[in-house]
């Protein structure tokens, strides 16, 4: 027996029965049964049974882009607070330029904000890296908090929603999967307009045909949406990794 995928399951719910099923993330085995070990959406691939979270605090996963603040400097790196259970560690070796180990503060000081990539997730904390394009220190612009569970919708399918907003307002948008969005534009007005659009998306996450509504909103604000290539229409399931 196996339940249909893509439905909401609650902890303790038997989602599959039989030895052939393998409990993945968020599921566990008890005798013949595979049981949901957390609240979320059931995801069945082949014989692998997972429960994907739909609410709650942000849990970092390898490959995620996160935005955080420097809270501590050790002898060989920086500690970054990104709103998770533990702080992230950015070693000196993961920075794409030469750093004098005695002068770590010269490159990143307390309270400064960075965009980094999650490199390794361990129970004790996560390691992050800056060694790729698009990562580094944040200067200028604004950071707005959103619910981390809504991030896939803000990004849109293969980044369609972000591209739409960026194309219209001309602002650079970086979305941290930990629920931080960095907006950087040439003037304050376009940044504020972008902020309003993103907040609108976050508030209306369940509306169907969200893309059209966002387009309409952009037009009402006096921006142009034509000429922007949109990959996916209304179904903004989000880029799940």
């Amino acid at each position: 027996m196996v339940k249909k995928g893509r439905q909401i399951v609650v902890p303790g719910e038997v989602v599959a029965t039989g030895n052939e099923f393998l409990p993945g993330d968020g599921a566990y085995r008890d005798g013949q049964d595979v049981v949901a070990g957390r609240y979320g959406i059931l995801d069945i691939q082949e014989k692998q049974v997972r429960v994907v979270p739909i609410s709650g605090a942000y849990y970092p996963r390898r490959g995620n882009t996160i935005i955080g603040t420097i809270v501590d400097i050790t002898f060989n790196g920086w500690l970054i607070d990104f709103g998770g259970a533990q702080n992230a560690f950015l070693p000196v070796a993961e920075v794409p330029r030469y750093i004098n180990r005695n002068e770590l503060r010269e490159f990143l000081d307390f309270g400064e904000t960075v965009v980094v990539k999650v490199w390794d997730v361990k129970a004790r904390g996560i390691d992050v890296s800056m060694k790729m394009r698009g990562f580094g220190k944040i200067e200028g612009g604004m950071i707005i908090p959103v619910n981390s569970n809504k991030v896939p919708r803000i990004i849109g399918k293969e980044g369609s929603m972000i591209k739409l907003i960026q194309g219209a307002t001309g602002c650079e948008i970086t979305v941290g999967q930990n629920g931080k969005v960095w907006i950087s534009g040439k003037d304050g007005d376009s940044e504020i307009a972008t902020k309003k659009i993103i907040e609108f998306i976050a508030e209306n996450i369940v509306i169907s045909g969200l893309t059209e509504k966002v387009e309409k909103m952009i037009k009402e604000m006096g921006f142009k949406t034509s000429g922007i290539e949109i990959i996916a229409e209304n179904t903004d399931e989000g880029s799940e990794e």
Binding site: I8, V10, P11, G12, E13, V14, G26, Y28, V35, G37, R38, Y39, G40, P53, I54, S55, G56, A57, Y59, A85, Q86, N87, A123, R124, N147, I205, V206, I207, S208
Partner: protein, 240 residues
Amino acid sequence: MGEGIYTKREDGRAFTDVRSMKANVGIVPSADGSASFETGKTKAIAVVRGPRTLHPQHMQNAQTGILRVSYGMMPFSVEDRIRPGPNRRSEEISKVTEWALSSVVDLSGFPNTVVDVFVQIPQADAGTRVAGINAAALALAHAGIPMKEMVSAIGVGKIDKTLVVDLDKFEDSVFHDGEGSTDIPVVVTSRTKEIALLQLDGKISVDEFKQTIEMAKKACDDVLKVQIDALKNMSEVKDE
């Protein structure tokens, strides 16, 4: 049974009936998880924050995250004002709620962290600790905390010589005639149907006690239905 002086309930319920229940998930947007649970006039709100780093550091456990529950009744929750702040009773309920929930949550993946559960009672009409536990279980699930299963709680007891389910304020603390009233809060896990919490305040015979436990297990199934319904129909996630 049925011989005593308590032959009919004040609100017209059958002796095995629970009060009408209502559950809501996601009531506090800024929290990681939140829920409310109502039984009759009793209302409970639970908010979950975490897992987050635990301070002071000496309380941290390097092997697992810990659960910390804080229960409190709001000053206006009963007719005569309750002095706000911790007291003997609220500390006890915080602890027993923590123990009941600890049997199902698994925080081994989050060492050195804490998951805070705040339970508040805006309106009390007996059975606040079970309403609080029901709300807390919902809020923990909503917060995405790994849980082996859910828990459901109900108060059962004996009034004079009659066994009853889900005592209200009158039955719990006003009724003193005959043999008086006995109050037994029970927490039952959702899948394995094990008892996660059992307290007893009053007098009851062994046979009657066994009967009340069976009644509680049955009532907990009703509670569980309301809880599952609330989780599966949460507006925040329900779409299309």
